[in-house]
Symmetry: C2
Subunit: 464 residues, 2 copies
């Protein structure tokens, strides 16, 4: 062995880099994951993570359920299991989906290592480098690195208070088609969207599944929070409207039970499910049977609906506290969404503020949020932020928002003292119909997206 | 919604297929995973799986440890954790690696969802379609679908009783280099190899890490069974010889504790580890903190070495039972390896027997094994099989081997009654030095591999 060579030099780094795959060179880090290391410090108030409050789950229940799990089959809980998941867990999933009016056959299910793995496996199964994924703008910041690692071109469709603007999505699909590009799937979080907190209206849901059927496109419906509704009537899932023809449904135990179990699931059309299963075999063989056995014990011996009901009460109060605090502390021109459920809301500060810069200042006062750019692949979202209201207590929410408001106002005052008097605040004609962030101007598909919209092109075609 | 269309027709299947990625079209199923569904039937004796005997872990211990885990931090066990793993689990890993004489810094570790995820992430980080992976022949059947899903070209190096023939590997590297191809990594299981059961000799280990350093190639050292040695002296890990410069080390709790936890780890050079971490973020965020907390509780409150010692005694007896049964029941010309540890051995039947065909007959008598072709990407291994001796009891091993011997002998008698008298059995000059299976004749790199070996080429070069 040559031990005389210096180690970890720049030359070493280059040497390894030469062995990396092309996807590795474009892989990005998840903004939330990076922040997690910082926000682990106890003095930091984190409104950044997507953390449920796991302290609501009684410690003595963990012990009691684990004891039951041991009695009912310790050897099985410790052993490898089938790739598609334990039958007992699939029965729990059927019950959870039924509670959202979505019947499913256990044979159409794949138990996964959290909902994140469904996103990864769907990309693995469908996406070649350069393929198009249609997503919401903003989209789940954790989906961005998954899409990037498969070298996808992501097109993000504007959202308003009624969720993704499906008519604009149709325009984009037309333009892509004109450019010879067919998206591999449409990614959406219809309920209490992460990060925007808005919910897709019923007419848009119906139209979205119609469009998918007409154009034979797959939809990935990500529904982690559907049961965490704090007001208003539940809306049908896309899968229940589509009956499982073009919709791949993503569910998870993370938000109704515990994310530390790392258990989610996919319900997918047979030919797709089969490929997701093959992908999972190669990736991790099967998800933890130990965690799966705990879920089965929980559903057998506890009232899972009561636990969700308790979470709903807790998070509803926290949401209300945050909405009040935002109204009180954010700069006057700021806008924010009013989620009917879920864990997040989306706040947009005056244009001249950059939330990535603001985060550094906020961290110096021990408060964290997810800057808006993490939810886009094209640089948008620069004056927005995602705020979580489920992970910390009421007083902490108030204090966290107060500090964010303080640094935002200070920065705004500073900028305006340099730039002169403040411009008139932009107010949309109908705030409920206003897009959350501006239009895309950059990114791999900007050229396609700058094509004239459908009406104008039809007119041109007709004129020929 | 159009509900009048017939569903799941051939046209539907085609429609979905058009949306699949190119990798999906070449994805293969894991032979063991397929067999798992069959071998779950209680009447089937499975010598196919890679199952440890989890019934040796006392059920009351699962309950007691889970209770401790709940007391020590239920909220943390149920919450998301850092992508690289809980600090307490990294401390356990440091202790396990120290027991194999392999010092490691916790900062060089990534906790993964089983060892399988390390293979997947290493491929994700390093392999573009068409890139070369050098592996042993036979190789771990579960690595084959992982390699395939990244569209790698796999070159398999023959093995003998002393493990991978490193001199032949050097020849292959020369030929690849002459063809302008640099392998992305060399995949090896040095201890009690899966599936061959052989162990790489010390001089070959030293040479392998030398070659890696000289040629600046990464090595993936897969070491799930190192602590399960039943005889002979432990040999140094490749990582301890290389000091973490070009070796990525894969470890797992599956074989020393329980596979149902789905927890393994990678120890890798810094620049590689960073990319593995990015890949994991996008794939499943983090591995189950619930399972990780259980591991931490087990190491804190039990003597993990005693449990491994108990497994060693149990599996040693089962190995001996299987070796005796094979000597008694397999056809006279059959050969099989004598593993010094681990879970598997490799049996090679007379050439005219095809173990894929034989498996169908064996299953009709309720006994299963992994056919040898599953351990190759080039069609080799047709008369070999992998047998597991850890998963079932002693009487069951005897009966399973008896049935396999019976169907093998019947099939052999049948073939020879058709084809005339048996040919003289081929016996290598030195059986210990004989390669386990024949040379590669097919596969994507067969042309490269059919180039003349190094000596002859040097002679030719010199003659020019």
């Amino acid at each position: 062995m040559r031990r005389d060579r210096p180690r970890a030099t720049a030359r070493d780094l280059e040497r390894y880099a030469a062995l990396f795959a092309s996807r590795t060179r474009v892989m990005t880090s998840s903004a939330m994951r990076d922040l997690m290391a910082i926000t682990e410090r106890p003095e930091v108030i984190s409104l950044a993570g997507g953390l449920p409050d796991t302290s609501t789950f009684p410690a003595e229940d963990v012990a009691a359920l684990a004891a039951k799990m041991a009695v009912e089959g310790a050897a099985r809980a410790l052993q490898y299991g089938p790739t598609d998941g334990l039958a007992a867990v699939k029965d729990c999933i059927v019950a959870v989906m039924a509670a959202e009016g979505t019947p499913v056959d256990p044979d159409d299910l794949l138990v996964t290592t959290g909902g994140q793995q469904v996103i990864d496996l769907v990309c693995k199964t469908l996406v070649d480098p350069g393929d198009v994924i249609v997503a919401e703008g903003p989209t789940y910041p954790g989906a961005v690195p998954a899409f990037t690692s498969y070298q996808a071109d992501v097109v993000q469709i504007p959202m308003d208070a009624d969720g993704m603007c499906v008519d604009q999505m149709e325009d984009v699909l037309d333009r892509l088609e004109a450019d010879g590009r067919r998206p591999k799937f449409i990614y959406t979080i219809p309920n209490f969207q992460n990060p925007a907190g808005v919910t897709m209206a019923l007419d848009r849901r119906r139209r979205l599944v119609e469009v998918a059927a007409e154009r034979e496109l797959l939809v990935l419906e990500d529904n982690p929070y559907g049961l965490l509704r704090y007001e208003g009537e539940p809306l049908p899932t896309l899968r229940s409207l589509d009956e499982g023809e073009f919709v791949i449904y993503l569910g998870t135990f993370s938000k109704i039970l515990a994310p530390g179990l790392r258990l989610g699931w996919a319900a997918a059309p047979g030919p797709v499910l089969e490929k997701l299963n093959l992908g999972k075999q190669a990736t991790d063989l099967c998800s933890s049977t130990f965690a799966q056995s705990f879920v089965a014990a929980f559903f057998a011996h506890r009232e899972w609906r009561s636990y969700v009901e308790r979470l709903r009460g807790l998070y509803r109060r926290r949401r209300d506290i945050m909405l009040d605090a935002l109204a009180e502390h954010l700069p006057r021109e700021a806008r924010f969404t009013k989620p009917q459920g879920g864990l997040f809301l989306w706040a947009t500060l005056p244009d001249e503020l950059d939330t990535t810069d603001l985060l550094a200042r906020a961290l110096s006062r021990n408060v964290a949020f997810v800057p808006g750019r993490a939810a886009y692949t094209d640089g948008r979202g620069g004056s927005s932020m995602r705020l979580n209201f489920s992970g910390v207590g009421e007083d902490t929410i108030r204090e966290g928002v107060r500090r964010i408001g303080e640094v935002a106002q200070e920065q705004l005052d500073l900028l305006r003292s340099i730039a002169g008097p403040a411009p008139a605040a932009k107010v949309a004609d109908d705030p409920a119909r206003a897009a959350l962030d501006g239009p895309a101007t950059d990114g791999p598909l900007a050229d396609v997206l700058r094509l004239p919209p459908r009406d104008e092109r039809s007119r041109r075609r007709d004129a020929r």
